[in-house]
């Protein structure tokens, strides 16, 4: 039963790990149905519609084997080839797929064309799950595209923008000149006092929470127990067959006596460390619990000696 539970748990964790960075992190971030004379050319020198895919995750996603379609009832309309290494899309990167109407033009070509009013779908490699879609407004002017934007780029929650946009193929949508965190900080907090106060407060809060929790859960009950006269916290010293329980003051005296004796003999850090270690051992403050396992090493004998077991070559 325990093995079954462990296996189920491992499978569940593996499934979640696989889910972490996959094609569901892709979105159709931009689409252009009718280019004007300034529109980009495909590899054949043609101008046409295109869609832009964007990987919003922080890991590389392979979109080979996914489908593009403009027909909700035919989700497997245009397959993106699986075998092309270029279908690996880096984190927060974009790629253009040309809607030339002929999927055989190449890996990045879809077998349909775009027109205003159509909706383009990105379908998972299972051929059933729609990952994302983008509707091209019927009144979209010539040479304009429809885009998705994330109000806060860190959140990566993209939504379509109603207004037609100036096409920006293969460029991440949004303000590319946005200030970095450092620049923003310089503007808002030029002398650093705000960051200092906030950071110091956070460091103190984090460690104070740790202190409070351990004081409440362990330190206070342990001290209370000790105060109530329970000497079980002291392990004592075994002398022959009897164990001598030392009081706290006696433990300190023992440690101090050892330290003094060693110090008088030679002095130095080594002896201080020995004294401290002995003291800690006596109080069991740091010493690990010994497992009590005895390992018996295998000794060599003629029976397991390989050279003796080889057949001798005939002379």
């Amino acid at each position: 039963m325990r093995k079954v539970l462990t296996s189920v748990l491992v499978l569940l964790v593996s499934a979640l790990a696989l889910r972490a960075q996959n094609v569901s992190d892709l979105i159709i971030s931009e689409a252009l149905a009718q280019p004007d004379s300034t529109g980009i050319l495909d590899d054949y020198g043609r101008r046409g519609g295109w869609v832009e895919l964007y990987n919003k995750s922080t890991g590389t996603v392979n979109f080979g084997g996914c489908y593009l379609t403009d027909d909700r009832s035919d989700l497997r309309k245009s397959l993106i080839p699986k075998s092309d290494l270029r279908t690996n899309l880096g984190p927060r990167q974009t790629i253009i797929l040309y809607c030339s109407g002929n999927g055989h033009d190449g890996t990045f070509y879809a077998g349909f064309t775009l027109a205003p009013g159509k909706t383009v779908y990105l379908v998972s490699n299972d051929g059933r799950t729609v990952i994302d879609s983008l509707q091209i407004p019927s009144g979209l002017p010539l040479g304009k595209s429809v885009i998705k934007l994330a109000p806060d780029i860190r959140q990566q929650h993209f939504a379509p923008v109603a207004e037609p946009a100036v096409p920006s193929p293969a460029i991440v949508n949004g303000d590319q000149n946005a200030a970095t965190k450092g620049e923003l900080m310089k503007e808002r907090d030029p002398y650093g006092w705000i960051l200092t106060v906030v950071s110091v407060s956070v460091v103190f809060s984090a460690l104070a929470m740790l202190w409070f929790l351990f004081w409440l859960l362990f330190d206070r009950p342990a001290k209370k127990k000790a105060k109530d006269g329970d000497a079980s916290t002291s392990p004592g010293i075994t002398k022959g067959k009897r164990t001598v329980i030392l009081r706290e003051s006696e433990e300190s005296e023992v440690a101090a006596a050892i330290a003094l004796a060693l110090d008088m003999e030679a002095g130095g850090d080594t002896y201080a460390a020995i004294a401290t270690a002995v003291h800690l051992y006596l109080t069991e403050a740091v010493h690990d619990v010994e497992p009590g396992i005895v390992t018996i090493r295998r000794s060599e004998s003629g029976w397991n000696n390989k050279s003796l077991n080889f057949r001798k070559l005939p002379k």
Binding site: G182, L195, V203, L210, D219, A222, L260, T283
Partner: protein, 381 residues
């Protein structure tokens, strides 16, 4: 004959003598000083020997384009340097530190955790000063972390915030960690009275195995929820400690605290040293970073000691007072700063052993500096 001279002349152009500059010689000399300090004075030999030798390796004058330098893509040194540049080594070192660290001293006296928080003021003091000297906020944050007295944390944060300054920051952090006894002792003596130095602290209580196992889990949950950006460091630190304390993963704990940390320490030391190539390293900024790094250690030590004195004002029971000599240990130079507390404490009273008490704030400092690094990363990264 002419061809022979031509070949010799061509060979000469490839030699270190032909490509040598005074900056290379200065850096090689600094590398030799590091090695000397490590071997003769035994100051942090595990760090200073690899860093010192790395500095010599990185500053051998060479003809560019041979694909052997640390900054040349695909060279052996460059591949090893990726662990520093991409920040892989510091979490691995934290894994080893976690597997080595015994948090008993901290668990038995939880109030000492706060000293570890107070000593992090060195980070933010240096941050403010760096801003005053005209550094950009991200650079100032990377410089400030030197005050955490934690080499891996300094490398981790500077690789994210200011990769260009990483060499100077790493060397500065490791150098001052080696100099902890020299820097901290005078400050501790200056800020404490003889009466305070004689304070004997109560013997810490025994810590149960259950507490030791719960600590890394609870500690991780609290700190990681507050500062998720510190996850690589905090996660590895507490994971390593859980391996040690659980008692059922001794082999893993032994590997993490033995061979693994040794390998990573060797590589991080060598490559950080090699990254101090003279043309990238010798600059006014580097000099400023070294100055600010020293100040950050001074501020951290001062704040730690003063904070203990402040705590003592609120402790009525004289038997429970804290010796301010353990305040310096709030910086996370484990275990050097705790050793300084012990040495200075014994100088005035040979029976007063502060090592075990100082280990509390010392390991709290490791957690505190990782938390501080996470905060700086979330604000400035």
């Amino acid at each position: 004959m002419e061809h022979i001279f031509e070949s010799l002349s061509q060979f000469w152009e490839y030699t270190g003598f032909a490509n040598c500059s005074w900056q290379n010689l200065v850096m090689i000399a600094i590398g030799l000083v590091f090695i000397t300090l490590a071997i003769v004075k035994e100051w942090e030999p595990m760090l200073l020997v690899p860093i010192g030798f790395g500095m010599i390796v990185g500053n051998i004058p060479m003809f560019p384009g041979l694909n052997i330098g640390v900054y040349e893509d695909g060279s052996v040194l460059n591949i090893l340097y990726q662990g520093v540049k991409q920040g892989w080594y510091p979490p691995l070192i934290f894994l080893g530190i976690g597997a080595m660290t015994d948090f008993s001293a901290l668990i038995s006296q939880p109030r000492l955790i706060l000293i570890g928080a107070a000593a992090q003021m060195g980070i933010f003091g240096a941050y403010l000063l760096a801003l005053l000297f005209g550094f950009a906020p991200n650079e100032a944050g990377a410089i400030g972390i030197i005050g955490g007295a934690d080499g891996p944390t300094a490398i981790f944060l500077s690789s994210k915030l200011a990769p260009d300054l990483m060499g100077a920051i790493a060397v500065s952090a490791y150098s001052y960690m080696a100099l902890v006894p020299v820097i901290q002792k005078p400050i501790m003596l200056l800020l404490t009275t003889k009466k305070e130095r004689l304070i004997h602290m109560p013997t810490p209580r025994t810590v149960s195995k259950k507490e030791k196992i719960i600590f890394p889990i609870v500690g991780f949950l609290i700190t990681a929820f507050i500062v998720p950006s510190g996850l690589p460091l905090l996660g590895m630190l507490f994971f390593g400690n859980l391996l040690k304390e659980s008692g059922v993963t001794k082999r893993l704990a032994n590997t993490a605290s033995g061979p693994l940390i040794d390998v990573v320490t060797t590589l991080i030391g060598l490559t950080v040293g090699a990254s101090t190539q003279a043309d990238k390293f010798i600059s006014v900024k580097s000099v400023l970073i070294f100055g600010l790094g020293l100040l950050s250690f001074v501020i951290a030590t001062t704040c730690g000691v003063l904070f203990v004195k402040l705590m003592n004002l609120f402790i009525a029971n004289p038997a429970k007072k804290i010796n301010p000599l353990i305040g310096n240990a709030g910086v996370s130079a484990v275990p050097d700063s705790a050793r300084v507390s012990e040495v200075v404490g014994r100088e005035i009273d040979p029976t007063n052993h502060l090592l075990m008490h100082a280990m509390g704030p010392n390991v709290a400092g490791v957690i505190g500096s990782a938390v501080a690094a996470g905060i700086l990363l979330s604000f400035l990264g």
